[in-house]
């Protein structure tokens, strides 16, 4: 069918402040952040201080990272992977972004009545393989079934526990003016791979999702001895969202150079066709890192030596100017602001 479901096409920001949940609340951008900061955190009595990819807590003398994510990607199978891969790698990566070694995952399924069991089986298989590849164990889980009007195929929620080494202090508030912004490789890949098989929008592409577990890459980066201050995997909302969040949390500005951004041709072309900005497109096997000025070289070297960091490069710096704002120098030499996406250009991308 050649219909494009609305949700797959444009960013449904609310016309006016609505009293209801809109797709934009799930976009990982400003609306998601507001929902968390204004509705969830006050209700939970939690502080907005961290809001990192995972929480770091202490139990029984052990310093643990704890994170969770739900996966509602549509379609469930896309070039390069499936919802199962995302469900394992996504949570593994959130743990790794706190500098933790991921150890255990839980998996909770919400299945739509009528879903082919073979589909569920494929997803489970993918998860098993991804967990083995990531070096984590799937140790506990749950399954719920909802009637066909209340679900859509398979939703997966994973939570993960990781071990944080002594002295490791990585978090979004640690960036300082002068720090260097690194990215581990090509950006915009996952989003384009998923979009390419959205109904009505199908376009042929050679792009495969970059979903991958990054704990090993992070370990190599930490092992380089350089001062890695912030790590983030730029999933929903892309690099734009991640850098804006870090800029706000740390109270610094971020200055990027557009010509240094590693955007592969196929991503650039697809984004051009669809009217998207690669900086706002989701990645599932990449990280951005903010490192101390003197550490950039050694960290980059460690990244490039790792299979998942072969394309690593510096893309900008943190600055004292325009705190909380990300600004790019265009290829032509002009400047433009890289906005925090508001809602969601690409709903259900992960």
């Amino acid at each position: 069918m050649t219909t494009v479901d609305f949700a797959a096409w444009s960013c449904p920001v609310p016309l006016r402040d609505t009293p209801a949940v809109v797709m934009g609340h799930g976009g990982g951008g400003a609306m998601s952040a507001e929902l968390v900061e204004q509705l969830f955190l006050p209700a939970f009595g939690a502080s907005p201080d961290d809001l990192g990819d995972s929480a770091v807590v202490t139990a029984g003398g052990a310093r643990l990272a704890f994170s969770t994510d739900s996966y509602v990607v549509k379609p469930m199978f896309f070039p390069g992977g499936s919802i199962g891969d995302l469900a394992v790698n996504g949570t593994v990566n959130d743990l790794a972004m706190s500098g933790a070694t991921p150890l255990f995952l839980s998996t909770a399924f919400i299945l739509q009545e009528g879903t082919d069991l073979a589909v569920v089986g494929r997803i489970a298989q993918a998860m098993g393989l991804a967990a083995a590849a990531a070096g984590v164990r799937l140790v506990t889980g749950d399954t719920k079934v909802v009637d066909s009007a209340s679900g859509d195929g398979v939703f997966v929620t994973t939570a993960g526990i990781g071990l944080v080494g002594p002295g490791v202090e990585i978090g979004p508030r640690r960036a300082r003016p002068g720090d260097v912004v690194l990215v581990s490789g090509d950006i915009g890949v996952h989003g384009v791979a998923v979009l390419s098989c959205r109904e009505g929008l199908s376009f042929g592409t050679s792009v495969l999702s970059d979903t991958a577990p990054l704990a090993g890459l992070v370990a190599a980066m930490l092992g380089s001895g350089g001062d890695v201050r912030v790590l983030r995997d730029p999933t929903r909302g892309g690099v734009a969202a991640s850098l804006n969040e870090i800029a706000r949390a740390s109270g610094v500005g971020v200055s990027l150079s557009e010509r240094d951004l590693p955007v592969p041709a196929a991503v650039r072309d697809a984004c051009s066709l669809l009217g998207l900005d690669p900086l706002q497109v989701a990645n599932e096997g990449k990280l951005v890192a903010i490192v101390a000025p003197g550490a950039a070289e050694q960290v980059l070297a460690a990244m490039r030596a790792h299979p998942l960091g072969a394309g690593a490069r510096a893309i900008g710096t943190c600055v004292a100017e325009h705190p909380g704002m990300v600004v790019a120098r265009t290829a032509l030499g002009g400047t433009r602001v890289i906005s925090l996406p508001i809602g969601e250009q690409l709903p259900r991308i992960c």
């Binding site: 609305f6 444009s10 449904p12």
Partner: protein, 366 residues
């Protein structure tokens, strides 16, 4: 992508900029007609790099922005009918109608679907013979051939449950209306490249002559825009009110003859209201009588629509180039992409949206 990369080359861009600087001796104000050009200019920072005296006035070439409020409201009414599948381009969903938009209506249960092409809507009609499928046919001359072909196919294949809600607008009458405005400061035009790919260039010499303005057909990539500006400055400096073509690879003088023939057959000229601007005579297309049976306005009687525009919104002035977006008091305050008051803040080709996305660093109010 072939011929996009080459026309983004920063070295050649520098060369073009240097030339523009070299040939500019006086201040000039030129209008880029097409919203896609506005977006490209702001996104790449071209306006920041031009000589101080060159002002780019953003034009009304954003079809989403100029679709009249009554037409949006009509779309909302039709989309809300049970049994209707209302198809549209994505941008239209968030354009404010009187108090609501297509997205709201969709979330309240209407079957509103975003399509990439009008042919997708026709496919939906074929797949759902029990439903009435309506396609929202907005756009300039660039998009009209697609809609024309689709309606033509609908008739040929006997697809009776398909109709078109037409709101096509034409560039040359808009140029004339801009020039007729007493407060007009425009001294030259960068004509819309892909409109001319279809229509050719033969409508422009008369306009250039009548209003004594250079008109240069211009593309969308950075080098295309810079070349369009360069040629325009050269003409302005020389006092020559002529038509130029800075986009020859995609614009032959005759445009696309098969497309023009189809347009002749399917559409006829009509007066059209441009949102925020007003009615410009003979500035739009409606379905010709031969195709009137596919006209959604005829098929769906939606009764009187009481339109309700935001009193704060000055989009009409933005579209006519009288003000820049940030000169609107609501810009960035009451009006943001999150809570847009006008279409120019919604559309990816709207000037307000472009300024908000890319220029908040420079704009004091933010």
């Amino acid at each position: 992508m072939k011929y996009l990369d080459e026309f983004s080359d920063p070295v050649l861009a520098r060369r073009l900029l240097d030339q523009i600087h070299a040939v500019t001796t006086r201040p000039w104000a030129m209008m880029e007609v097409c919203g896609g050009q506005t977006h490209s200019i702001i996104r790449h920072g071209i306006d920041q790099l031009l000589p101080e005296g060159i002002e780019l006035i953003h034009g009304p070439g954003c079809p989403v922005c100029v679709t009249p409020l009554e037409m949006i409201d009509r779309a909302l009414a039709i989309a809300s009918r049970p049994g209707v599948i209302f198809c549209s381009f994505g941008d239209m969903l968030r354009v404010p109608g009187s108090g609501r938009d297509l997205f709201t209506v969709k979330s309240q249960g209407a079957d509103v679907r975003v399509v990439y092409s009008p042919l997708d809507a026709l496919e939906i009609a074929k797949a759902h013979p029990d439903r009435e499928v309506v396609f929202f046919g907005i756009g300039f001359e660039t998009t009209a051939p697609a809609n024309a072909m689709t309606v033509h196919q609908a008739r040929r294949l006997g697809v009776r449950n398909f109709s078109l809600l037409v709101s096509h607008v034409l560039v040359p009458p808009a140029i004339a209306a801009i020039m007729e405005s007493p407060s007009c400061r425009v001294q030259a035009f960068l004509a819309a490249g892909h409109v001319c790919s279809v229509m050719g260039t033969d409508q422009y010499p008369a306009l250039a002559e009548k209003y004594q303005v250079p008109i240069v057909v211009t593309g969308f990539e950075p080098l295309d825009i810079l070349e369009g500006i360069r040629q325009t400055v050269v003409l302005l400096e020389a006092g020559r009110a002529e038509v130029g073509n800075a986009y020859p690879r995609a614009v032959p003088d005759s445009g696309n003859l098969p497309a023009r023939a189809m347009l002749e057959d399917v559409f006829e000229v009509a007066d059209r209201t441009w949102r925020g601007i007003g009615t410009i005579p003979a500035s739009g297309w409606r379905l010709s009588s031969r195709y009137r049976e596919f006209d959604a306005e005829e098929r769906f009687a939606v009764g009187d629509l009481r339109t309700d525009e935001s009193p704060l919104c000055r989009a009409g002035e933005v579209l006519q180039g009288h003000i820049k977006p940030h000169e609107c008091a609501a810009f960035g305050k009451e009006c943001t992409p999150r809570n847009p008051l006008g279409a120019t803040m919604v559309s990816s080709e709207g000037a307000c949206a472009a300024y908000y996305a890319y220029r908040r660093l420079e704009l004091v109010s933010l």
